[in-house]
């Protein structure tokens, strides 16, 4: 059984439908990307998973339990962490306080110290800046903190929403290094990303989303070899 499964999910806002019958699965231990141009429905897809909007049709199953239409805090409690677009740190709180907020829910709070050690080992730069305000960190450190905060909730699955959005090209490479480090820890992840070239180097499988439908899916290596994908997205 897949860890996360979306079965023919349709979702949208008011009259507008952003996703049409999207089916998708993430296996335990896998890294999966959802790529596609602006307006393809990538963000809507993540919003459905993280409980911000309910699906209109279809089901969302995580570890055997249906999460369709469940509120965001329940989704987090089930073990799905979310690294939101644009990082969304608490800028006036310190690094330590941001990490503590990551372990807000009771289950995570109990394991707070252990999680903190784990995150500190993964990102030593954060451990050195415990007392600094999140807003005063460099871009790369903020990215680390956003990921670290997600890890503090002791997730089974991490969702990344457009992690490279708005970053300079050199920063994008570093960011993917960070995600790769998390990946090597054995976390399962679903990454929504526009930077097709970089993300396909990192993940096992990928889905190509276009105007709200899954246009293609497959192994990352195969997808990046497809003429269509190479021309339209990878820029070769």
């Amino acid at each position: 059984m897949s860890m996360l499964e979306l079965r023919t999910v349709t979702a949208g806002y008011g009259q507008f439908t952003a996703l049409w019958d999207v089916s998708l699965a993430v296996e335990r231990g896998e890294a999966v990307a959802v790529v596609g141009p602006n307006g393809a429905g990538k963000t809507t897809l993540l919003r459905v998973i993280s409980g911000v909007i309910p699906p209109r049709h279809g089901d969302l199953v995580f570890e055997g339990a249906s999460l369709a239409g469940r509120p965001a805090h329940e989704v987090v409690a089930h073990g799905i962490a979310h690294v939101p677009e644009g990082r969304r740190l608490f800028p006036k709180l310190t690094v330590a306080e941001n990490l503590k907020m990551g372990a807000f829910l009771p289950r995570a709070r109990k394991a707070y110290r252990e999680s903190l050690e784990r995150v500190s080992a993964l990102f030593p730069a954060l451990a050195e800046r415990q007392k600094q305000r999140a807003g005063s960190l460099s871009g790369g450190e903020q990215q680390m903190l956003a990921i670290g905060r997600a890890l503090m909730s002791r997730p089974q699955l991490i969702l990344f929403d457009e992690p490279s959005m708005g970053l300079a090209p050199v920063m994008v490479l570093r960011l993917f290094d960070l995600i790769r480090r998390v990946r090597e820890e054995g976390y399962t992840m679903l990454i929504v990303e526009q930077n097709v070239r970089q993300v396909l180097k990192l993940v096992d499988r990928a889905y190509l989303l276009e105007v709200g439908r899954v246009r293609m899916e497959g192994r990352a290596a195969e997808l990046s070899e497809q003429d269509f994908v190479r021309k339209a997205y990878v820029g070769l």
């Binding site: 965001a72 805090h73 962490a81 608490f90 006036k92 907020m101 995570a108």
Partner: protein, 332 residues
Amino acid sequence: MTVTPARAAGAVLLALIALAPLVPMAGMKQYVLHVVIQIFVWSFIGQAWSLMGRFGLVSLGHGAFLGVGAYAVVLLWNFYGLTPWVGGAAAIALSVVVALVVAYPCSRFGIIGHYFALVTLAVGEVVRLLIIAERDWTGGSLGVTLKAASDASLVAMQYADKRVWYYAGLGLWLFGLWVWARLDRSMARAAMEAIGEDETAAACVGVRVTRFKLRITVLSAALTALGGIAYAQYITYVNPETLAGIGVSLRIVFAVVLGGMYSLLGPTVGTALTIALSEWLRIVFGVKFIGMAETIYGLLLVIFIIFLPAGIYGSLAALVRRRRPAPVPATA
């Protein structure tokens, strides 16, 4: 509990406050007690306001809850002879309903920051106008006097002796401090701080944004109504200008901003200073410069928001501690 200099000073101060009514002050006594009772009650209301304000839920309409609380308790007594103990509970419940009717849609549809402040500003005025419009039983803009009980009694919550009110006010103020301190040490504070910084981010880590915001709003409204009830029972007269609308709402905010909304004693310090200021102006200028107090308030408010956002007490406390930087308020 270890005895630190700060705690010892606090205990001594509290003992002095508790013993103050026993000090002979000749003819001044009634006046001094009256001013201090006002400081207790309005500090309590300021504390109630700061429960929301410190997390960026800036309400410019807390007069609504004051007015609902005060009028409900007075009218229930005047018309139905309902004891303020029961009427007060009803008044608090009513203000909680008002708070929910305002806060739920705001929270649901993401009306935050300046927009939330504007909505609350309107709510305060609506309550004031309703009170004026329903003149048949509220007395309109002339206000209404609490019907006197046959004698001082616990049932009617009416006492001519100011010493009773002094201790009641003291109890109320201490209760406000206790609520504030309890919230400060709870997980709700962490959740509310996160919400105040970024609601989306707070939701991402599993904070139930709507629920926490509603809870804190309900708590703040209920305590504000309680303050209004206490004030009405003490003064035995309610008036839409002093207990609802923009004027009183802004005075609450001003006192708290002046003293500091992020610290335990900030609202008290701010309230004491504003009340002392208006009393002083009243004594020095009498009725010659009507509006002078408001003008000075306004000027000070601008100066404080720009230069001392953590307030007088908050900034002093931060200077003394220097451990943690004083938080900067949301720009609402």
